[in-house]
C-alpha cells in the first residue's frame, strides 16, 4: 500500500511539471499584451513600459518560466499584477472556500446518487427506474449557472432559507458557513449526481446478473444485505473511478458557481485573472487546481486497492 502510494506520488511530479509548462506556454501564446489588459484605458506607453520592466515581461519565455518555477520551489508564487499582493496569500485565503465547495458537492452527489442509482437498478423497468433515469437526464442537461440562479430564486428569494451570496468561514460561524455553501454545492452536485445515478445503476445491473449474486440469494441471505454488502460493494470500482474523474468537472464548475454566488474561491480568482490576463494568478491557480485533481485521483486509486483485495495483493 505504501509502495503504491509512493509510486503514484512520483508519477504526479512529471504530471504537475508538464501541466505548469503547458499553462505557462499557452498563456503566452494568446495574442495581446497583459500590460494593456491590466491597465485598460489607462495604458499609456510609459505605464506599459513600466509594467514590462517590473514583471520582466520582455525577458525570453524560458527565462520567465525558470524564474517562475524557481520562485515556486521557494514558495514564492509571484505577486498580483494589479494589487501587488503576494499570490500565495490569495491562494491560502481562497483555496479553503473552493475545497469546501467541492467536498460538500461531492458528498451531496454521493448521498443523492448512490441510493437512487441502486433503487433504479433493483427496480429495473419500474416507474422508479424510469423517473430516476429521467431526472438523471435532466440533471446532466442543465448547466451549473442556470441551476444556481434557479436555486437562488427558489430557496433565497421565495423561501428565504439560504443566502444568495457570500461566505463566512466555518471556524467563524459553522452554521452560517453550511448555509452559505449549501446552494452553491447543490448547484455543482446536481450534474455529478446525474452522472453517478446512471453509473451506479449500470454497474449494479451488471453485478446483479452475475452467478455469485444468484448463489448468495439462494443461501437465503436477506435482500438488503445482498444489495448493500455484495452488489453495491462489487459495483463500487466503476463508481469510484467516475467520482475521481468527475472531481475535475467539479473543480471546473466552481469557476462559474463561485461567480454566480459571489464566493471568494479559487474559481472566482481564476476567472477574474483570466479576463485581465493576470498571468501569475492564472498560472498559480491552475497549478493548484491541477494538484487538487491529481490528489483526488490518487485517493481514487487508493480506494481501488481498499475495495478490491486482488489489487491490494498485486500492489504488495
Amino acid at each position: 500500500m505504501a509502495q503504491a502510494l509512493v509510486r503514484r506520488l512520483l508519477i504526479a511530479i512529471p504530471i504537475l511539471f508538464g501541466m505548469s509548462l503547458v499553462v505557462f506556454v499557452i498563456l503566452r501564446l494568446v495574442p495581446g499584451d497583459p500590460a494593456r489588459a491590466v491597465l485598460g484605458l489607462n495604458a499609456t506607453p510609459e505605464l506599459i513600459a513600466q509594467m514590462h520592466r517590473t514583471f520582466h515581461l520582455d525577458d525570453p519565455i524560458y527565462v520567465q518560466y525558470l524564474a517562475w518555477i524557481g520562485g515556486l520551489v521557494r514558495g514564492d508564487f509571484c505577486v498580483d499584477y494589479r494589487s501587488d499582493q503576494p499570490i500565495a496569500q490569495l491562494l491560502v485565503q481562497d483555496l479553503p472556500v473552493t475545497l469546501e465547495l467541492v467536498i460538500v458537492a461531492m458528498l451531496m452527489s454521493i448521498i443523492i446518487a448512490i441510493p437512487l442509482g441502486a433503487l433504479a437498478a433493483v427496480r429495473q423497468g419500474h416507474v422508479v427506474d424510469k423517473v430516476t433515469q429521467g431526472l438523471g437526464l435532466v440533471g446532466i442537461s442543465m448547466p451549473d449557472f442556470w441551476i444556481g440562479i434557479t436555486l437562488i430564486l427558489l430557496f433565497s428569494l421565495s423561501f428565504q432559507w439560504f443566502p444568495s451570496s457570500g461566505f463566512v468561514p466555518f471556524t467563524q460561524d459553522p452554521l452560517q458557513n453550511l448555509k452559505d455553501v449549501f446552494l452553491p454545492s447543490l448547484s455543482l452536485a446536481v450534474g455529478l449526481a446525474a452522472v453517478l445515478v446512471r453509473i451506479t445503476r449500470a454497474a449494479m445491473l451488471t453485478v446483479l446478473e452475475q452467478d455469485f449474486i444468484r448463489s448468495t440469494r439462494a443461501r437465503g441471505i436477506r435482500e438488503g444485505s445482498v444489495i448493500v454488502r455484495h452488489v453495491l460493494r462489487n459495483a463500487a470500482i466503476p463508481i469510484v473511478t467516475v467520482i475521481g474523474m468527475q472531481a475535475g468537472y467539479l473543480v471546473g464548475g466552481t469557476i462559474v458557481v463561485e461567480q454566480v454566488f459571489a464566493l471568494p474561491g479559487i474559481g472566482n480568482l481564476l476567472l477574474n485573472a483570466t479576463l485581465s490576463r493576470n498571468y501569475p494568478i492564472v498560472q498559480a491557480a491552475v497549478l493548484v487546481l491541477g494538484i487538487s485533481f491529481v490528489v483526488t485521483n490518487l485517493v481514487a486509486d487508493l480506494m481501488y486497492i481498499v475495495l478490491n483485495p486482488r489489487l491490494r495483493t498485486a500492489s504488495e
Binding site: V30, P31, G32, D33, P34, R36, A37, L39, G40, L41, N42, A43, T44, L47, D80, R82, S83, D84, Q85, L90, Q93, D94, I149, I152, L153, S156, L157, Q160, P163, S164, S165, G166, F167, Q259, V260, F261, A262, P264, N268, L269, N272, L275, S276, R277
Partner: protein, 519 residues
C-alpha cells in the same frame, strides 16, 4: 397618490430633474420617480448615527491608489477613504471639503485655504505639504490626465496652497471635485498605496479580503463634525444582477447600484426596496477610428451617424433604463445643450448619399467587441442591423480584454463602443478623447475645428465664456463624428427601506458620509 401633501404630478413638475427631462424631450420613463423614492430623496427622516450596512458593487476593487483611478469599483470604495479638496453637490454646485475656500488669483493661479482639523488615518495631520505631495505624484499616474494644465503646487503656509497652471484651465474646479483625493506622503512611502490606502476620509479601511470584501469603519477624527453617520460599511462585489437584487430583497445586502435592466421599471413600485432618483450620468457611445480608412473620411463617419436609431438602443440595449444622448451630458447637467445636427436620424438614404459621395457604396467594416462585456456585444448586434439598412456590412469581431485593449490602444480597429464615467464637466470626456494631442485620443482624430472649439472651452476660466464656447464643442464633435453618442445610462441606487441619504452624484462617487440607517 400624494406624499406629504404633494401629489406626484406636482412633485414631478417642481423637481429640477424632471423639468430638465421635459426640456430634453423623450427621456421617457427612465427618469420617472416612484412615490417611495420621493420620501427618501426629500430626506423624510432626520439622520441618525450608528449601524452597519453592506453595499454590493458589481466588480471587485483592485487598486486603492487614488492617483491610479483603476476601475470604477476601486473608486467607489476609496472615495470614502480619501477626501477631495472640494465636493460637488447633486445639483452641480462646488462646495468646500478639505479646502474651506478657493479663489482664482489670475487666469493661471488658484489659491486654496485648507481645513486645519483633518487627520489622516495614520494619525498624521493633513497639511498643505500633503496637497503638494499628492499633486506632485499625479503626472506619473492615470488621473494626471485630468489636470493637464497643472504646472506646480506652492505651499504658502501650513494650510494654504497655490496651484500654478501652464494655461487657464476651465474644468479645474470640476477636476478638483472629481479627482483630488489627498494622500499622505508618509503613508505612501511606508506602505504600498495600492493595498493600504490612508486618507482623511470619513472611513478608514478596516479590512480588505481580496476577492471577497472590503470593510470600512468610521474614522472618529473625521474633520466634519457629526459625520459620518454609519459605523461600518462592508463592500462586496457581486457580478450577477439577479443575485445582487436577491441579496437586497432578502435583507442580506442594504445597497446595490444595478438591477437587471428588464426589471428596473417594475421594481420602482416594489415595497421591499427603495430607489434613489435616477440621474443620467453614464454616457455610452460609439468610437470610430479616424486614423485609417474608411473612417478617415468625415463623410463615412457622418453616414454612420445618420444610420443611428438611438431610441432603439435605449430600448433594446438598456430596456428603458437610459435616455437617448447626442452629447456627453444630459439633463440635469447645466452644460446640456440639446444640439443634434442629425435630427431626423435614422435616415439611411442620407447615409447612402454620403457614402456615394465618399465612393464607399459597398462599405465593409469591423466592430471591435469583447464577449464578456454584454453591453458592447449587444451594441454591436443592434448597430449591425441599423447599418445594414444603408447597405453597410458590419462584422463583429470579439476579442479577449488584453487583445481588445491592444487593438483599441494602437488604433487597429474600425469602430467600437464604450461608456465614460467622468462627465462632471463635459471637458472630462471631450478633451481627453477628441483633442488631437491628447494621450487618450483613441479615435485618432485630428480636427482643427474640434481642437479650436475645445481650446476655447477648456483654456478659459470665465464661466460665461465657457458656456458660450461649449455648443461649438458639441457641434464640432457631432459634425466630425469621431464619437457618436447613443445613450446616457440612468444611475439609480437601490436600497433597503432603512437606508437613507443615498443619491447619485454627478461625480459618480458613492458618498457614504451622507447615508444613514433607520430601522
Amino acid at each position: 397618490m400624494s406624499i406629504r401633501g404633494i401629489d406626484r404630478r406636482t412633485f414631478l413638475r417642481r423637481t429640477g430633474a424632471v423639468g430638465a427631462a421635459v426640456a430634453a424631450g423623450g427621456l421617457g420613463t427612465a427618469l420617472e420617480i416612484g412615490p417611495r423614492e420621493i420620501a427618501h430623496a426629500a430626506g423624510s427622516t432626520q439622520p441618525v448615527k450608528g449601524g452597519a450596512i453592506t453595499v454590493a458593487i458589481v466588480d471587485q476593487p483592485v487598486n486603492m491608489d487614488a492617483a491610479d483611478g483603476e476601475l470604477y469599483s476601486s473608486i467607489e470604495v476609496y472615495d470614502n477613504i480619501f477626501s477631495k479638496l472640494i465636493n460637488v453637490t447633486n445639483d452641480f454646485k462646488f462646495v468646500p471639503n478639505l479646502a474651506t475656500k478657493w479663489a482664482q488669483d489670475d487666469m493661471k493661479t488658484w489659491t486654496l485655504d485648507l481645513v486645519d482639523n483633518a487627520v489622516f488615518h495614520n494619525g498624521e495631520p493633513m497639511t498643505a505639504n500633503d496637497v503638494k505631495f499628492t499633486f506632485d505624484r499625479l503626472p506619473m499616474h492615470a488621473d494626471g490626465v485630468f489636470f493637464a494644465a497643472w504646472k506646480r503646487t506652492e505651499v504658502l503656509s501650513k494650510y494654504r496652497v497655490r496651484f500654478h497652471l501652464s494655461h487657464p484651465f476651465g474644468p479645474f474646479e470640476a477636476s478638483l471635485a472629481a479627482f483630488s483625493e489627498i494622500m499622505n506622503q508618509k503613508a505612501v512611502k511606508s506602505g504600498d498605496p495600492k493595498l493600504h490606502p490612508v486618507g482623511t476620509g470619513p472611513y478608514y479601511m478596516k479590512q480588505w479580503v481580496q476577492n471577497d470584501h472590503v470593510t470600512l469603519a468610521r474614522w472618529n477624527k473625521y474633520f466634519k463634525p457629526n459625520k459620518p453617520y454609519l459605523d461600518q460599511v462592508t463592500f462586496r462585489a457581486i457580478g450577477d444582477d439577479t443575485v445582487r437584487l436577491t441579496g437586497l430583497q432578502t435583507g442580506q445586502i442594504d445597497w446595490i447600484q444595478q438591477v437587471p435592466a428588464q426589471q428596473s421599471n417594475s421594481l420602482l413600485s416594489s415595497s421591499q426596496i427603495v430607489s434613489s432618483p435616477g440621474k443620467p450620468y453614464f454616457p455610452y457611445f460609439i468610437i470610430l477610428n479616424c486614423s485609417r480608412p474608411p473612417f478617415n473620411d468625415k463623410r463615412v463617419r457622418q453616414a454612420i451617424a445618420w444610420c443611428i436609431d438611438r431610441a432603439q438602443f435605449a430600448k433594446l440595449l438598456w430596456f428603458g433604463t437610459s435616455v437617448t444622448a447626442t452629447e456627453a451630458v444630459s439633463p440635469p447637467s447645466p452644460w446640456y445643450t440639446g444640439i443634434d445636427p442629425y435630427k431626423g436620424a435614422p435616415d439611411p438614404e442620407r447615409a447612402k448619399a454620403l457614402l456615394k459621395q465618399a465612393g464607399k457604396e459597398n462599405l465593409h467594416i469591423t466592430y471591435l467587441g469583447q464577449p464578456n462585456v454584454v453591453s458592447q456585444e449587444r451594441t454591436g448586434e443592434i448597430l449591425k442591423s441599423q447599418l445594414a439598412k444603408a447597405g453597410i456590412t458590419m462584422n463583429i469581431q470579439n476579442y479577449a480584454p488584453a487583445q481588445y485593449f491592444e487593438q483599441f490602444g494602437s488604433h487597429k480597429y474600425d469602430l467600437t463602443s464604450t461608456y465614460w464615467s467622468a462627465t462632471l464637466d463635459p471637458a472630462h470626456l471631450y478633451f481627453p478623447l477628441t483633442y488631437s494631442p491628447s494621450g487618450w485620443n483613441f479615435p485618432g482624430i485630428s480636427s482643427k475645428r474640434i481642437n479650436a472649439a475645445l481650446e476655447a472651452f477648456v483654456y478659459t476660466t470665465d464661466l460665461k465664456k465657457r458656456h458660450a464656447a461649449y455648443p461649438e464643442v458639441v457641434r464640432a464633435v457631432a459634425d466630425e463624428a469621431p464619437v457618436i453618442f447613443l445613450t446616457n445610462q440612468v444611475q439609480r441606487y437601490w436600497t433597503s427601506p432603512h437606508v437613507h441619504g443615498s443619491a447619485p452624484l454627478p461625480s459618480l462617487e458613492i458618498r457614504l458620509e451622507d447615508m444613514w440607517l433607520k430601522r
